[in-house]
Symmetry: C2
Subunit: 205 residues, 2 copies
């Protein structure tokens, strides 16, 4: 990654990327100016112009950027052109929503399969993705060199599943169970607490 | 809210609260020390002791805090003893998971109902919570003074639903659709992008 970029610019790049990804297809096919992006996101347009110029050389005066090229340039810079395979443990509503969602792909993530311990769920496919028994997680992740896991199991099972993921060689875990999970050594865990996000939004504004 | 508290302390309080909420019931019934909390969360114990003392007077030397009292003290400080009613628009897997989840209550949120435009879903109940037609959202929210909404509709419908929530008097919107939503005037929107969270976790470590 370019070391000359400031951490402030780095923190805004995903925001631009997210905005470009969310544009309707016809706008993705066209040009977009730094000013238009700044306006849509409520940011300073000088700052946006500078940020974009630091990762893309495609900007032309009065025309702006090709939206799709700019998206590629930012994505490449952030590593989104990777294809990291991801597994999801816990096939309740939340886990199934993860398998049904196709939007991870723009960020370079392929959800490859789900795991569950319920025999009725095991063997089914969701959005073309197979659901395997949790006992197969270790061998599957090792055989396929999976580094990223998402936890959507009930709170009582979350720590155990996290530990099993770590044993299976997973290095990055996104935890949606609303419990504090201790990260095993060498593993990064992000605890996503939706209640807390809601509390911060509604109470701290 | 106490104005003498630093913003650093304020940002850590929800983390302590989340940790206490996630403890098993038998530990909630017992005592817990600042040192134990610091260790569990990987924080400096002097800092934790200071933070807790700023919102709770229940700490005793060698004994620590009653875990449940400390949780109440922090929760009261953060406004979690409120009972804010929340509605969810979009009854796909993700929205249904929101209605089935009971963990919002510890943070003072009651999910009161879901909305959808699919006639087959309308009229059902999920976890005791009714699913109403989206066209009833405006009158329901006004009649019940709802201030908080969660959006779990498909990306193409998210902005429209956001605008309808704003018209219905909703002031805080948590958006899970992976599109950039423009906040209507006087409304705070938090765009929760799970792909981006995953990207930051797996690529920026």
């Amino acid at each position: 990654m370019n070391k000359n970029i400031t951490s402030q610019t780095l923190s805004r790049l995903p925001v631009y990327f997210n905005y470009l990804v969310s544009l309707p297809q016809e706008r993705k096919n066209g040009n977009i100016s730094a000013t238009a992006i700044a306006e849509a996101l409520g940011l300073n347009d000088v700052q946006v112009r500078k940020d974009l110029a630091s990762v893309s050389s495609g900007g032309r005066p009065k025309v702006g950027y090709s939206a799709s090229e700019l998206m590629s340039d930012i994505g490449r810079f952030l590593g989104f052109e990777n294809h990291d395979r991801v597994v999801v443990a816990g096939m309740g509503n939340f886990g199934r929503a993860m398998l049904e969602y196709n939007g991870f792909q723009a960020y370079g993530f392929d959800i490859v399969c789900g795991f569950d311990c319920n025999r009725e769920r095991v063997g089914s496919t969701i959005n073309g993705r197979p659901v395997r028994h949790i006992d197969e997680m270790d061998s599957f992740c090792r055989d396929n060199d999976i580094r990223i896991g998402i936890i959507t199991v009930p709170e009582t099972a979350a720590q155990e599943v996290c530990d099993r993921m770590a044993q299976a060689g997973i290095k990055y875990i996104l935890n949606f169970a609303a419990v504090h999970i201790n990260a095993p050594k060498g593993v990064a865990v992000h605890n996503e607490n939706i209640s807390l996000t809601l509390a911060m939004l509604a109470r701290c504004h």
